[in-house]
Symmetry: C2
Subunit: 212 residues, 2 copies
């Protein structure tokens, strides 16, 4: 029962709901109400209800929501229950190393299957069981794999060139850790992750008292 136009903000909240449902499950809760959520994240009960209503009648009136059922539902919506998402990291620097060691990716069925770098001293080595290939092999390895998106961690200056090369592959998504703000094409979804930019917004608010 997938609907037509789900608000972007609703989609952004789904992963948070999933995480909280996992916590609830760990705590042994089988059922919860939209009010219970308010204490776990600063969300109004009506927001949760409306968000979930986009995907069908997921709750039971008078009772609340079933933790396990809702978790499965959201995991399905995000596509992490039925498949393993394979990806490659382009640029095997500090960020790449941290991501390759990041335990939380297992939780969402995300598996890094390859890394690429232009530094000869890194090529042929392995980081956490992940082989590092030369940049020249990128297209070949992508074609050989089933990956649908890549994680970009090269220096900013190299970003545009790599993106141009990626456009000619069947990649459909880029998680961009580069400081460059990227927009590629309708066919390729870009997720610009810019920690520096996010911290700057915090500076803005810190500079002016604590007012939200």
């Amino acid at each position: 029962m997938i609907s037509f136009e789900v608000p972007k903000n609703t989609i952004k909240r789904l992963p948070i709901y999933l995480r909280i449902l996992e916590n609830l499950e760990e705590e042994g809760k089988a059922v919860f109400s939209s009010q219970d959520f308010e204490s776990r994240m600063d969300i109004k009960p009506a927001v949760l209800r409306k968000d979930l209503a986009y995907f069908g009648n997921l709750g039971v009136r008078g009772q609340g929501y079933n933790v396990e059922k809702l978790k499965a539902e959201i995991a399905g919506l995000l596509g992490i229950s039925s498949q393993v998402w394979e990806t490659a990291i382009i640029g095997a620097g500090n960020i790449a190393r941290a991501l390759m060691r990041y335990g939380d990716f297992k939780r969402i069925n995300l598996k890094i299957v390859a890394a690429f770098d232009s530094n000869p001293s890194k090529i042929g080595k392995k980081i956490r069981d992940i082989s590092v290939y030369g940049m020249a092999d990128m297209e070949k390895q992508i074609a050989r794999s089933s990956i649908k998106f890549v994680i970009l961690t090269v220096p900013g200056k190299a970003a545009e060139e790599i993106v141009a090369r990626l456009k000619r592959t069947r990649i459909r998504g880029i998680v961009n850790f580069t400081p460059r703000y990227l927009q590629v094409s309708k066919k390729i979804k870009v997720l610009n992750i810019n920690i520096t930019a996010e911290i700057l917004t915090m500076f803005y608010y810190l500079k002016r008292g604590g007012k939200k």
Copy 2:
């Protein structure tokens, strides 16, 4: 000429504007129009104009915006022209290590001055010139320093306890890399950075054709 109620979305865009202005400067452009921006980020010219108008008359009618002047203006708004922002990292694991080596922080005058960890084998060592102290010393070191916010990279399970301790310090911001979604108090601004959650939203869109 700081205004009363600037939309949250406007604030989120300021760091991106800043970055693009830096790029324009590198390219030697002295002036640009709001239309020029459209090709660099997917933003309508009117959005840029309205955003900037919250902060005064920053452009010149008929001409456009001056790159250097606007860059200085935004840097000032975000508080990175006049001061160095010192911070400490709590939890000296993989993410912390990557952040300590992250070159982009210099750009925004962000300086990591200390790290804290509970692992005795890390305490007393240095990572990139940054001393690692024991967790027990956290409050003492914070009090001794001038830091106004911290970066939290401890395992999820440890997050709540540390936050409770931070509440009793004069810290006013937390950049939270923990998988836990945190909400602390009106006095402390929390920036929840959850890469896994962001990637999940990408999964959602990848699962359904390329439609944005």
